[in-house]
């Protein structure tokens, strides 16, 4: 089929203003949007810049706005869009460096601010083996372990567009992944960060993040669960309420 692709082009500091370049392509409807970008870059305009690596939705490099929605270019097929007019733009809320490439450093800074690593200073099991965790405990935070840090959620979030200091959905997802891990002892530090003015309370439950997530993480729900812990002071590890103290590792 023949399609028209309009792509946002801009190098701040070099170009006076952004423009849209338009390309007409003959494509197989099963092609990925990333395939179109590769085709344009390889055969029509080598100056077009975008990030990509794995090309199947697990590395998180190629989040961009495709017909107005945040998607990974490698996880959208032409046929999914139900149109022959495709507009591709950079994600919103992070500064454009060139074309579809934005400055990811502030995003990773927010991620780091929630202490995204296991905190547990207890002695390791004496036999040197694994800490125990029940299947139920493991399932409790499974959804938020899927995050690939692509920023599709954070840059779809209206409160983040309004205030770039807001820690944003991706960082909260990663905080959730540890807060609800029965092996972790760092909930207090993370919750203290998330209760700051630019923390979790800036979320207005718009659900844009959940819709944008290419990993289908229930982000709005995860954020709500973090809010609930802050409000109640209790962490629900298993689906039954357990107290503020940690229940062993078993």
């Amino acid at each position: 089929m023949q399609i028209t692709v309009k792509i946002y082009r801009h190098i701040p500091g070099v170009d006076t203003q952004p423009r849209y370049d338009e390309y007409t392509l003959d494509v197989d409807p099963k092609e990925r949007i990333l395939d179109l970008l590769e085709n344009i870059k390889g055969f029509k305009d080598g100056t077009l810049a975008f990030r990509r690596s794995c090309a199947h939705g697990v590395c998180g490099s190629d989040a961009m706005r495709i017909n107005g929605r945040n998607r990974l270019a490698c996880k959208v097929l032409v046929q999914d869009l139900d149109t022959d007019q495709i507009v591709i733009e950079p994600i919103i809320g992070l500064d454009v460096i060139k074309d579809l490439i934005v400055d990811m450093d502030p995003f990773f800074e927010q991620y780091r601010s929630v202490l995204p690593y296991l905190i547990n200073d207890d002695p390791l099991p004496a036999d040197g083996k694994e800490r125990l965790q029940s299947q139920e405990q493991r399932a409790r935070f499974d959804d938020t372990t899927k995050c690939i840090l692509c920023a599709a959620c954070t840059t779809a979030c209206p409160p983040f567009w309004a205030n770039r200091k807001y820690v944003g959905p991706a960082a909260i997802v990663n905080a959730h992944r540890f807060i609800f891990d029965s092996r972790d002892h760092g909930a207090e530090q993370r919750l203290s960060r998330l209760s700051e003015p630019d923390g979790v309370w800036r979320c207005r439950t718009v659900f844009n993040c959940t819709e944008a997530c290419p990993r289908e993480i229930k982000i709005t729900q995860a954020i709500a669960e973090v809010k609930e812990v802050l409000a109640s002071g209790k962490i629900n590890y298993k689906g039954v309420q357990i107290g503020p103290e940690r229940v062993g590792s078993g």
Binding site: G46, T47, G57, V58, G60, I97, Q133, Q135
Partner: protein, 596 residues
Amino acid sequence: MQTHQYEVIIVGGGGAGLMAALNASRGAKTAVLSKLYPSRSHTGAAQGGIGAALGNLEEDHPEWHTYDTVKGSDYLGDQDAIEFMCNEAVEAVYDLEHFGLPFSRTPDGRIAQRPFGGHTNNVTGKPVRRSCYSADRTGHMILQTLYQQCIKNNITFYDEFQVFDVLVANGAVAGVVAVDLATGELHVFQAKAVVFATGGFGRVWEITSNAYAYTGDGVAICLRRGIPAEDMEMFQFHPTGILKLGILITEAVRGEGGVLINGEGERFMERYAPHVKDLASRDVISRAIYMEIRDGRGINGKNYLYLDARPETINKYAEADGRTRPDGTPYRVTGEEILSKIPDIADFCRTYLSVDPIKDPMPVQPTAHYAMGGIPTDVYGRVLVDDKNTILPGLYAAGECACVSVHGANRLGTNSLVDILTFGKHAGLNAAEYVKGTDFQNLPEDAAGFTMAQIDQMRNGDGTEKVAELAQEMKREMFNNVGIFRSEAGLKAAYKKIQELRERFTHIRVQDQGKIFNTELINAWELGNMLDLALVVTESALARTESRGAHAREDYPKRDDANWLKHTLAWLKDGQVTLGYKPVTITKYQPKERVY
């Protein structure tokens, strides 16, 4: 041009690089240079698990893991290194768990394990549950967990820095030269030790499971500095890539009971590997698929087959095989259970094929997957520059870009993750130890000169050739003639073609003359790397007149231990490949016929 000084520089931010960083940084001033944000690295695409004889569900031993790996390697792996790795695997997995990796769990809360191709109970010969997993996204969890630990330990990262060159002075490492992609500026990093952890080069082939970033940069950089590449003819084709796209469908699908079915509805692996069937080694299964297709038994006579993971199919063959669960009850599954074990695979199938894997079979074909060969190293990651195992002081390599060799002629599934953890760790530890007793080498006068020359050539060619076209021609040629089966005529044709493409490469001219994120320039340079590696792979394959592991010669169908039980070393100089050889280390296991 900016200059920096670190005791240890690590090139690459995947699993091996991050493990090296975590371990080197404890004893030395360390930085990681990565062309991607580390969390984008290809380790994250690994799916099915990491092999370690924990014995959480049934009897298992590191010795069995060792023997399986030796056999899987078709006896080309060095047995001392394999034994070292398989012993280390157990601790490596516990380390990951202690770092917080969210493994799937057994009913009693231990790390869950599943069967995988080539991993067996050495007494019964039946598949053993050795692969420690986190659903079908084990690599993602490993990459995330290691990156998290790096954040915790304040590791210094230079993200989106492309390394172009390694500097050597007075016979020892002096540093690396890199370009900051965001600005296009050159940076010289003076270092006492450099660890390459740059991954593989599957992008040389048309159908591949590998990321765009997998262009063999580290191996190519080393080749240009006179360092050989080992066993480059040994490249693994994974049996089950998504039709046309090559996206990996993990062996875990077969571990959970899925079977391969040909156009006649037959579970054909019974004929090729009567004992373990669909869980034979990858090389064995890829060849079987190729032969089924060649003999007209593809689906509708076409060039693909089905991987069938529908519960009714799984249960039918589990019953036929007498497969049981650890508690002795018959192995039977529901669709829901299957989906919970392979959620990402289900997502890929729906996204790219509009197929639901518990309702429809998945169309698959073999896909270029893993480089067994690479920069020669010992078990400490030290790079060895000749057939006498001479060390280049300060130079290290680990992970897929290295060849220890633990995978020999064919890697077992799950062992790539064992490899990156074990040898990433030891390369990091040894680099940190080495720098304590050594001084910085003075940087050469014109440190960035060689890098500048390479960049200038790509900017100033006459522009009569296009990078994307040359890349397409290379990928097709390599897939057709240097793929699963090879022959003298095909390899000679490929060699000629690659040399032609290398000549045409000198005529390219990148259109983008800017500095900021000039990804066109980087892509062009990466093609240059791939052309160098393609040449080395082809020449190494042409010389090896036997069939062993992933290297299957139609004109020499038998393994020939009398003449070829040895590692290939290939040097690239002035566009010509020179070959040498070194012996394989045999300790406990004398080569014998390999039957699954």
